[in-house]
Amino acid sequence: MLARIVHLLPLELKTLLEKLPESLQEQLEEIRIREGRPLEVCFRGQSRFMTLDGSMRQTADAAFKPTSDTCRKLLERITNYSLYAMEEELRRGFITVSGGHRIGLAGRTILDGGVVRGIRDIGGFNIRVAREVIGASANLLPRLLDRSRKTLHSALILAPPQQGKTTLVRDIARSVSYGLWPSPEAGSWQGRKVGIVDERSEIAACVRGIPTFDVGPRTDVMDACPKAEGMMMMLRSMSPEVLIADEIGRPEDGEAIREASHAGVSVVATAHAYDLQDARGRPVLRKLLDDGAFTHVVELKRTEQGIMHRVVSAEAPGRSAAREQPQTPQRTAVGAVHSLLGLHRADDP
């Protein structure tokens, strides 16, 4: 993992991080660089401070502290020496670099009429290492198949940050686009046209409009586009059969998803929420769930064994009553548990 982002780092950080044991380098998730403060690295959900000799400490004393010069070099490298070409990114607070890695920025903001126009005096960086896990959705996909239409059901994927949502939807896009349905009955189904609205350039990690991750041959990507507008544009112009969007939550996103589901397009979206209960606490998500825009809800949980998912049917109370399974609206479906890292654990009834 480190090898993929090392070209972004200034020399002193690079030599320091290369002292990490190889196994840790592979599991790096975040490198947090704060000017004049201890260097922090995160892996497997834990966080440690690095000392100058490359050892890891729980405490911050004796840790390596990046200087302002180091931070300046880092900023120059991640912006390709061109901060002026990154205005949109600075307004959003992060930069996506080739390979899909996202670098969050913190500093003093510049306001323009009360709206954040950018960040100056950047003193904090969070390099999030993106990973492409091919086959991450293999265990989940069979549960989302819509057998009558030979495509996917609309699904909402819920998880707190850092649980692998983006990795999962990227693999869903790839599998659906290639027509690699991981289910024997769906073997003869063809691939579907996939539209990805990639507001944060995380799913496909486009560089100049071309995806750097493999998102499949039948996939169109609307890069760095506001989700609601992007979804409408996709619907109007690209005739997708499956629409994928990351981190929905604004009222206009809800409108667009409703529009898509009425147009017969399956929507796979992710949202920040701990579980279905939590999601229902968010007005936009609750409205979508009540409207039946999503037929399935997937909850992701990261455990010691890897990442587990639980598929919940999300029929609205009124609608589910008319269906064959008149159970309570939530938690009707059984949970399936699997791990993204290939470690399987049977938790299935």
């Binding site: 200034p10 020399l11 002193e12 010069d69 300046r72 070099k73 900023l75 120059e76 912006t79 390709n80 020496y81 061109s82 901060l83 002026y84 070409a85 205005e87 600075l90 510049i110 950018g118 100056r120």
Partner: protein, 172 residues
Amino acid sequence: MIKLLGAVLILFAGTMIGFQQAARFAERPRQLRQLAHALQRLETEIGYGHTPLPEALERTALSSPEPLAGLFRKAATGIWETEGLTFRESWERAVKSQWPETSLRMNEQAVLIRLGSTLGISDKEDQMKHIRLTLVQLKAEEDAARDDQGRYEKMWKSLGILIAVLIVILMV
């Protein structure tokens, strides 16, 4: 015979030195003008094209005549060739290594190096302001250089010959 040959050589050398000095005075405003054009090009690339800096520098190099083109090219390649350089350092290196090739003076060098410490690390408006400030400063230098040219170019041309003649007369 040998004396005559020596006198001719001295005359020739004196004339050449004079012409060379005069050429420096003629060359300086011309290069300052070219430098201003190059920076305007860079400003357009940055302000309107949003071109990343290394690419903007390469393009500026392509549209400028030597020896200035070399300066921009070196600045663009320097950041990739030597690891661990900030852009400011790379720029300063390029300016200093290319300077002997030009007819430009230390004043302009200082102005350019100052520009290098701001390039690429602020927003578009700020970048354009800095480049414009540099252009204004270069313009002032250019005016001064033209004055100098008017004053000293002819003088050096005649001075070279005259000094050579003086030496020859003293020798004879």
